[in-house]
Point group: C2
Chain length 398, copies 2
Amino acid sequence: MTVRAGRGGWTARFAARTERMRPSEIRTLLKRTAGSDVISLAGGLPSPATFDVGAFAAAAERALVRDGRRALQYGPTDGRPELRAWVAERTPGATPERVLITSGSQQGLALLAQVLIDPEAPVAVAAPTYMGALRAFDPYAPRWLPVATDADGMRPEALEAALAQRPAFLYVIPDFDNPTGSRMTLERREALLDAAARHDVLVIEDAPYRELRFEGEELPTLHELAPERVAHLGTLSKTLAPGLRLAWVAGPEALIEALQRAKQASDLHTSTFVQAVALEAVAEGALDRRLPELRVHYRARRDVLVDALAVEAGDRLAFEPPQGGMFLWARATDGTDTTRLLGAAVDAGVAFVPGAAFYPAGAPADRLRLSYSLPDDAGLREAARRLRTAFDAPAARP
Amino acid sequence: MTVRAGRGGWTARFAARTERMRPSEIRTLLKRTAGSDVISLAGGLPSPATFDVGAFAAAAERALVRDGRRALQYGPTDGRPELRAWVAERTPGATPERVLITSGSQQGLALLAQVLIDPEAPVAVAAPTYMGALRAFDPYAPRWLPVATDADGMRPEALEAALAQRPAFLYVIPDFDNPTGSRMTLERREALLDAAARHDVLVIEDAPYRELRFEGEELPTLHELAPERVAHLGTLSKTLAPGLRLAWVAGPEALIEALQRAKQASDLHTSTFVQAVALEAVAEGALDRRLPELRVHYRARRDVLVDALAVEAGDRLAFEPPQGGMFLWARATDGTDTTRLLGAAVDAGVAFVPGAAFYPAGAPADRLRLSYSLPDDAGLREAARRLRTAFDAPAARP
């Protein structure tokens, strides 16, 4: 039998893994709200109000005047040496040789998956965890080992049970987690590394929100505590600008070397132009100058949302205010199914992400993630009111 | 038994596919020549003399002034709509919905491999073909179907035999091939598409050198002749600047949609900043203004190398002067093993890529690729003299 592919018929020819890349219904629904009057608490987009457009214009000009032809030519796969040196300086435990520049942390996750996951290999992740990590790992057909969490991150006994199965790696966001906003205590960090050492498991530490700390002392990264066991992912996306797509992995040298080979096959190297502009921007202090302002900015946004939720939906939502980052994780106190709630919410003019989207399996129905990064004060307050309306709508009820 | 990973020991934990990403010895040798006095005919780097640094500086300024916050924010995975529209306009048979913006054509190849290659699936490629394509496809463990070539590209009977095995796809560079510099005739193009239709095989057309045509009339692309059967890869790397990492795939809608899902997991999207700057540059005419100059520039380089080789190594090398692109493909008339020759050449101060690097399997020993894109006139002439010296060196002889 000959199957004729013809118009749109190539789907029958896709590799098995392509079946694992289905677009989610929630994503499709949220996409439809873009450009409408719906206030979005769904995305994790940094506020464009924090972008220093002038600093980038100046950095681009300097990069091209000083170094134009180099900034436009092919470059080394592992990244521009000066940028790797800058990353190493800011990353305790790293050296430039242990740094790979990537096109966003999403690429770091995808390369780690490609290099580390054999089909059916166990992979340990928090449940819930970052959707983009699940999406990056999933095409390689891992067997999920979900680790239950509490307000301080992964529960020690659940973590122990997962690591005892010797996963390909453990993936964790210790600082101001996506989606839960939680931060691992120092004790939990040390216990995690102790368990990882006992079971000899590689740890992937994703740290996009680490620098957006509102309260509490700085805690050491997992990578700082155990540089030979931890691959650390850092990024400029949540601080300088996500549109650059500039991030990095720091970790054990053999791993960085393998990731570099995978990256060469994936995209040769990250844009030398972007690297040159980012290097000019950070060298001139654009990041360090910006961080205190960013913390004030996002802390204020959190406060407005927390207060507005207390007023509008205090009886309906249980949550801990996050001490940093961009996300507030809540539970519907009456057990409302938040996937159902989303439909009513979009009708009422507000969007969020139902918690189920963040679980590799076995999701509870009553969680939701609210991002306070994008709307202004009035928008956050109105969003809370609309959320209340959604809770009261008949469509939200089973 | 517990294997302790420790320092550098993570290699034991890598996925099986990571074994397929070994660095090549030739690459390592060539890397060592960087920054030395060795004249390189090895790389496929565009001449930085052709980069219009001023046009990019102006484009970056305009992009940030007009549209700064959008240029720095996250963007859609498939690319900026205005850029997809620009690509569609220049790509007969395409519409904006059938275009995916990628981070260089290397990413297009890697995404196609991820979406299309199941382990052990047959994949048809010219032998020889672009090394980076072999590297992009190889981690997914295809079974190679090498198609023998002549001066006009793939031989029809070899192509027919390969397509009869119903490969996942056929990969081809019809215009000024890498490494052979050859161009497929119109008759061959039509015959290829006819065979692909009979066996219902998807065709991947890689066209990075298409616009660098020195002689002969423009021929239609495979995509133009059969838009529902061909994924066409275009890029700004060989014309405007490779450092941008800006390219695209145009093709059947179902395929583009699957590639877009794979890209979302791979790097979310190509830098919005790079897309904004490139859009400003091309909208202002930077590419169209540049193309005639580029053709003159590279044609002159080709002429110098062809003449110098005729003078210095006319008896040692057999080749057809390419009618476009950056590469001259030659055969050592006395059967010299070019991998062995490379050692003597580097000693004599000139580098090239031995032909064996471009074959998925069954490589002849006596071919080599010479690139004329980078050195100036004097450099090309000196390179030819040094090549002669290498041929005469005892180390080049078996």
